[in-house]
Point group: C2
Chain length 406, copies 2
């Protein structure tokens, strides 16, 4: 099925509102507090960082999601509320209860996420003072304020939506993410908030989210660092009115594909907006014996600092690609391997049958100077395909992280 | 035992000569071909890269070392002779046999190593033309020409020696290494050549080298990339005249310690001379429950791009250290953890008992502006200590790798 990504966001599905305000946590009066709200209770699911050090908001959200129900998410940027002990937990709880009071919900119906500097206590008073304004400015027509308020080093808003039909009912999914540095497979300093009006059981919502995160957010890397605060949350309020999806039927397959489309689109946007990045780099491993090996090889290539700097330099230094494949920890037959590099400007083959292939350095430079590069690794020993996405490593990455206490 | 590192090199032990000449593989008439030679046959051992893609010289050297005997090593820089198919193997063999003829050895007595660009056939004619000159200029008094000829992006010569007594016999170990980029645990783009006049069985020489590489070269990282060509080779010619070491007695322990001293010294030199690096960063995990966990945690910290850029910025951004510990994949109790950072200018404690510790940002800046930084992770739950060494990530790393076909 072909889905058409549109420019909406978390308020695109029926019954959702959002807002974003400034509390002063971020400098320069920038928006730093966001709220997503559904007028009906939602079946909800979450996927969390595997980092052993977990932020306070993550601990609180996981607890609040015990019953798989939620109706609002409050998110602040500028401070991760992590490594902040019991005080941090108390503050995360207070963000929820403060919102819940004004929205006439139980505090367990409110989820919480934070992103920003680690190890500094939240200015909870500033946040609490802003919550009435945050709640009052909730709107169906405006999703960009919220998307803006969750950004840290991001340079572009990351928000999309799409609609599709189940019978005669239109189902919509909307989403926003943030993430630029500290991005790595297994959920990095990224937050993803997905809203949908689909009618679906919590068990299948959970499964759909987990499966989708695996092939989207867990296949991108900016710098191999995974964060303490990452989560992807989905809220489904059922207002589309489709017959409830409670088995893995065709409706579920369509929803899963639509969710993948949303998440892969956002994942690629994150990779392309990686800290300091000038280009998106995709490594597609094709004709692999199995998904496991293909994923490991593909990730190894997009994670290599040497490949990333070569891409920055538009240098077809394919030896570094082979090197990254070699140390990935997966066996392969180098004599079957074919390597090529591709962009909208064309394709060059660089390695085949165990030997280098001659190519024009000038043409290679032209191809690699584009802002979306595809590295194709053809293993010629199976039929699996896996893509991972990363970006180049540039002077600006050093600048952003060498003197910004993020 | 306290060993005193001295400024010698591979010719410091009795009976060794070396030389280095220019063949034109490297631009600007730089030396790029080195030879190490012992007048007696040596018990020899090697440790090799775990990269699945292996350079031709590595394959040939491993074969020549089947009998654990060798008498010479020929090394070129400027070309890795890797991903070069059967032609590459033939060329590596030819480097050995050409040397062997002039030195009146069997070709199996000559080992070979290469470092430089991947995927380009060696200019074997240029090398063969230079071998007579290389052999003729062998000298006992000069080890720097050889050390120079194996450098790629290295900015300093890496060569050391030390002597110690076994009974009334003086035993000497000398060594040279190269390695700056593509450096990572499990043997990276690094070559290490160690000579010694100790009298030791091949079995124990093998064991001593393997154990020593584990705590030295395998505990450094510049950019998490491991190379196709890395090896550490040791030649022991027995000329010190000590009673042969053929059991793990006290003499063996002393030799092992001395070898560790040599290898750790060179490993730290490599990390400090990492591509673009301005400082050495050591992460020492103390009071750990076991060596395995301590090593994983320690390496995770020195490998994090975010920690590395923070060190470049002299920024005590300890949240990134905790983050790297968190995603290392090892369980620990964050409430027992203590973190501090240290240099010759002093120490600051930054995290304790689950909470941040207040510190002066000014003093932190002073401490972290030094060129050797120690990050101490006290786990408070055991007695193991493990150090790993890395460097900061700087603009120059991008410059070196963004436009240098290395």
């Amino acid at each position: 099925m072909n889905f058409k990504i549109t420019k909406g966001g978390v308020t695109s599905p029926k019954g959702f509102k959002s807002s974003g305000v400034s509390t002063g946590l971020k400098k320069g009066n920038k928006k730093d507090l966001a709220l997503v709200y559904s007028k009906e209770s939602c079946n909800s699911a979450g996927v969390y960082t595997k980092n052993r050090v977990k932020g306070a908001p993550l601990i609180v959200t996981r607890e609040h999601l015990n019953n798989s129900k939620a109706q609002a998410i409050i998110i602040n940027s500028g401070n991760a509320n992590t490594c902040t002990g019991d005080t941090g937990i108390k503050n995360a709880e207070e963000m929820c209860s403060c919102c819940a009071d004004l929205l006439e919900l139980k505090k367990e119906d409110v989820l919480v996420a934070s992103t920003g500097v680690i190890g500094v206590q939240l200015n909870i008073d500033a946040i609490k003072k802003s919550i009435p304004d945050l709640v009052n400015s909730l709107s169906e027509d405006e999703h960009k304020n919220a998307a803006n308020a969750i950004m840290t080093t991001d340079t572009v808003l990351k928000t999309v939506s799409l609609s599709f039909k189940i019978g005669d009912k239109t189902v919509t999914i909307g989403a926003m993410t943030k993430g630029s540095g500290m991005i790595h497979p297994d959920m990095a300093t990224m937050l993803a908030f997905i809203t949908t009006d689909i009618n679906i059981s919590t068990a299948l919502l959970n499964k759909a989210l987990k499966d989708s995160v695996k092939v989207s957010y867990n296949r991108i890397s900016v710098d191999r660092d995974t964060s303490t605060n990452d989560m992807a949350l989905i809220l489904a309020n059922g207002l589309a009115g489709n017959p409830v999806i409670d088995e893995e039927n065709q409706d579920y397959q369509i929803f899963s594909q639509a969710l993948n489309e949303i998440n892969i689109t956002l994942a690629k946007m994150m990779a392309k907006d990686g800290e300091g990045a000038t280009k998106l780099v995709e490594c597609k491993v094709i004709n692999a014996p199995n998904e496991h090996d293909a994923e490991i090889l593909s990730k190894s290539v997009i994670c290599s600092n040497l490949v990333k700097t070569a891409m920055f330099g538009a240098d077809a230094n394919w030896g570094r690609v082979l090197d990254a494949l070699g140390y990935a920890g997966v066996d392969f037959d180098i004599n079957k391997l074919q390597l090529s590099m591709e962009s909208s400007k064309g394709t060059i083959e660089v390695f085949k049958n165990g030997y280098p292939v001659d190519f024009s350095e000038d043409i290679a430079k032209q191809i690699l100077s584009e802002d979306e590069i595809l590295i194709i690794v053809n293993m010629n020993c199976g039929s699996c395909i896996v893509s991972s996405w990363g970006c180049d490593l540039t002077y600006d990455y050093i600048k952003i992280n060498g003197d910004y206490r993020s």
